[in-house]
């Protein structure tokens, strides 16, 4: 009951009018920056950090917590409406979310994203409240061999996203894996496919590729195909709000997404990409109508959105319990802690309890605020789709280029955006799915790095992948994932 008493104390800190105001400012700012590709929550926190020097640390961190959670909401709004995922965690949302929006169902898509984010955020914050120290310790036990096999599992599931043609799916996946090898070799430090361009030494940014494949490719596709077509309004048909069927199809993905997102987010090398991918393919596998995925299945929005928010909360567990930053934003918050002379670490819960619990309490409050802020906004956001198509896509292209430039303030990124956008256009024309390419780019380098680390630590003995229990578990899950459809088909055939 100590935890509850401490949490109550935390609410007492967070519920003062001044702190509520900072939380409101944070969530609003976070929502805004989440929508813009290129300006992520970590940049925002970095830019605001000097401005908060005069504040008391609790106010500053309540605001940062708001920005952190708010950015997840904003990211999904941009992904659904404009097909421009502002951050890596929103990429899976863009697939079905934007398909729903184009089918006139932007309202339910935004609603399931907002409510799913709220539920996942709240459940995961509960998890953070009661499990943070324990979870952080368990996460430490997982090393490179576990991460490597987790990536294998994630890569196996990509096969569920191939669509009609396995060959085209593999083509797309391998293109992504190829793009992922650009940059410095993680082990030897030597450049690969950089062609003497310094900007390529750090590899190709996944957000740029996501925006290029989704937004730029789509824009070119629309421009090429619908030039002479009569403009059709696809703003709104049907209800603005979720129907009973939408609710029935959403609630399980929300909970499953949370269950996948929170523990993976808490891993030091977990991130938001792997849980959102796993959630998406899980929903597709479990769905009674997998054929709808990619064409506007609400589960494909509900699951990944929940997983994304839950992983964001999970990432705070190692930060608060051990002082380990596991995401860019968490790293920024760590720098912020240090600015105020607070050293997050194993002793933080004991040395600054009012601060930690105030921050956790404000995460609950921030989540409620975000729901209150975002639900009414849905009515306004859907009007974005009423903008005439040439203007809308012109605007999207403009935002995309701006975002690509501001990411690292360099023009090489803009060139990469346009080149890969062109490739995305070609892939659309030839019916090659773009999602496997993106996942190859994200998972490939992680898999490579972790396999090589694991092999160096084991002195070249590949047995580590099967002798460590969690590693073996991930490999068996991957195997089950590949074998399940075959087995089901076999059983169905028998009378």
């Amino acid at each position: 009951m100590d935890t509850l008493a401490a949490l109550a104390q935390g609410f007492a800190v967070a519920l003062t009018p001044a702190h509520l105001l900072w939380a409101a400012i944070g969530v609003t700012l976070g929502t805004a920056v989440g929508m813009l590709p290129g300006i992520g929550p970590s940049t925002t926190v970095a830019l605001l950090l000097p401005a908060t020097f005069g504040l008391d640390p609790a106010s500053a961190f309540i605001m940062f917590g708001g920005i952190y959670y708010g950015a997840q909401y904003g990211g999904s709004t941009a992904a659904i409406l404009l097909n421009t995922p502002g951050e890596a965690g929103a990429m899976m949302t863009a697939i079905d979310g934007n398909a729903m929006a184009r089918a006139g169902r932007a309202g339910p898509a935004l609603a399931t994203a907002a409510i799913g984010s709220f539920i996942a955020g709240t459940v995961a914050t509960l998890g953070l409240t009661f499990l943070a120290p324990w979870l952080a310790e368990v996460a430490l036990l997982l090393g490179p061999s576990e991460y490597a096999t987790l990536m294998v599992l994630a890569l196996t599931t990509v096969s569920a996203l191939f669509g009609a043609s396995v060959a085209r799916g593999l083509l797309s996946l391998f293109l992504g894996l190829l793009l992922g090898t650009v940059g410095l070799d993680p082990q030897l430090g030597q450049p690969r496919f950089a062609f003497g361009v310094m900007e390529l030494l750090d590899g190709i940014d996944t957000v740029i590729v996501a925006v290029a494949l989704f937004a730029v490719g789509e824009t070119m596709h629309v421009a090429a195909r619908f030039r002479f077509a009569v403009e059709t309004m696809h703003a709104m048909s049907g209800s603005l709000w979720m129907s009973a069927a939408d609710w029935a199809r959403s609630w399980k993905p929300w909970l499953r997404g949370t269950a996948i997102g929170f523990p993976i987010g808490a891993l030091p090398a977990g991130g938001s990409e792997v849980p959102t991918v796993l959630s998406y393919v899980t929903e597709k596998r479990l769905s009674k109508h997998p054929q709808e995925f990619g064409k506007g299945a609400i589960e494909g929005v509900a699951g990944p959105e929940a997983a994304n928010n839950a992983s964001a909360a999970g990432a705070l567990a190692p930060l608060l319990a051990l002082g380990l930053p596991t995401s860019a934003t968490a790293a920024m918050m760590l720098a912020g802690f240090q600015q105020f002379g607070i050293r997050p670490g194993p002793l933080l819960f004991d040395s600054k309890p009012e601060f930690v619990w105030g921050l956790i309490a404000s995460l609950y409050i921030g989540n409620v605020m975000l729901l209150i802020l975002n639900l009414p906004l849905i009515g306004i956001w859907v009007h974005v789709l009423r903008i005439p198509r040439p203007w809308l896509f012109g605007g999207i292209l403009c935002f995309s280029v701006l975002g690509a430039y501001t990411l690292n303030t360099n023009t090489v990124d803009v060139a990469i955006l346009l080149l890969i956008g062109l490739a995305g256009f070609g892939m659309r024309m030839m019916n090659v799915p773009v999602v496997p390419c993106l996942l190859g780019l994200i998972l490939g380098p992680m898999l490579e790095l972790q396999i090589r680390k694991a092999m160096m630590i084991s002195l070249g003995d590949p047995a580590v992948f099967v002798t460590r229990p969690v590693s073996l578990l991930f490999l068996l899950l991957a195997l089950a994932f590949l074998a399940a459809p075959v087995l089901f088909r076999y059983r169905r055939r028998r009378p």
């Binding site: 996460a139 993680p186 310094m198 030091p268 190692p318 968490a330 194993p346 790095l449």
Partner: protein
């Protein structure tokens, strides 16, 4: 005489701020990176001392810092109010990778601060002292996993210098690269690597909580507040710091360079800066224009030689 000079300086200080105006700092790293934090610290100290009216910090991440250097070279010619910041990693990167520009293309102004590298293990590690570690390393070099930042990073070079001092070919290092400080701490705490390296600030919370132990520090003398011997004491002649410094554009006149180096000299000797160093756990490593230039030359030789032994020197 000295007191008198001090009074004169004090009297002219506000005028100097007006005089200098705004400083532009090009930073090789994104918002929140180590370089960014150093640049913000410079700005804070310079403003508090009323030496400048404000600063504009421009970030160029990537390319081992050389993107920032090349942007600085192309956009700030003749600009006597602009500097580029740099650190130990930016000296070594062009030595192990062929880059179109390097720190040799800019003019050293001042070396300002830094952190001495140190070796850590987790609390229940079999290595109680640095001697235990070196003994095991000598007996079976590949059995030790050394975890730290990316390949060719300051941590990697630190390990290579230790290896060489212990009389073992640095190529035998079983070096496990990590993406960031958080990953390194997690890998050491989780026992996935046996040894970690970095600055004290990276590990301080874990050390204070008794979860990590410092085996040795790479400083010339023992460091205050850290209960560990220096490498030199234990017979390994290695001193290594992750330093922070500033440089100017090669097109500047001598007068412009004098003005800029005077600015940073005043900052480095100010009370505000000295207090900030303590607060941030950094060591004062101030070297003036001449000193920093000489240090660069000798350090490039030392690091170049060790990269050569690692087989990583760019041809």
């Amino acid at each position: 005489m000295r007191k008198w000079l001090g009074w004169m300086l004090l009297a002219t200080a506000p005028a100097f701020a007006q005089d200098f105006g705004r400083l532009e700092m090009i930073v090789p790293g994104g918002p929140g990176s180590g370089q960014d934090q150093a640049a913000r610290a410079f700005e804070e100290a310079l403003r508090a001392e009323k030496l400048i009216t404000g600063a504009q910090i421009i970030h160029y991440a990537g390319g081992g810092g050389m993107i920032a250097v090349s942007q600085f070279l192309t956009s700030k010619a003749g600009n006597g109010n602009a500097v580029v910041t740099q650190g130990a990693g930016h000296l070594s990167f062009p030595l192990s990778n062929k880059t179109p520009v390097s720190l040799n293309d800019v003019v050293p102004l001042a070396r300002l601060a830094g952190e001495y590298e140190l070796l850590v293990v987790r609390a229940n590690s079999e290595f109680k002292t640095i001697d235990d570690l070196i003994a095991k390393y000598k007996a079976n070099p590949s059995s030790i996993t050394w975890g730290a930042g990316s390949t060719g990073s300051t941590d990697h070079i630190f390990y290579a210098l230790i290896s060489k001092a212990a009389g073992i070919d640095p190529k035998k290092l079983n070096y496990i690269p990590h993406a960031n400080t958080g990953d390194i701490v997690a890998a050491v705490l989780g026992g996935h690597v046996q040894v970690g390296a970095g600055g004290f600030q990276d590990f301080a919370p874990q050390i204070q909580a008794g979860r990590m132990r410092v085996l040795a520090v790479g400083s010339p003398e023992r460091l205050k507040g850290i209960d560990a011997p220096t490498l030199r004491e234990r017979g390994l002649d290695v001193v290594y710091t992750n330093w922070r410094a500033v440089s100017a554009h090669p097109s500047l006149t001598v007068a412009q360079l004098d003005r800029l180096s005077a600015l940073f000299e005043k900052m480095a000797k100010s009370k505000t800066w000295q207090k900030m160093l303590v607060d941030k756990g950094w060591t004062d490593l101030y070297l003036d224009r001449k000193g920093y230039a000489e240090f660069m030359k000798s350090e490039q030789q030392r690091v170049g030689a060790i990269l050569e032994e690692l087989g990583m020197r760019a041809k």
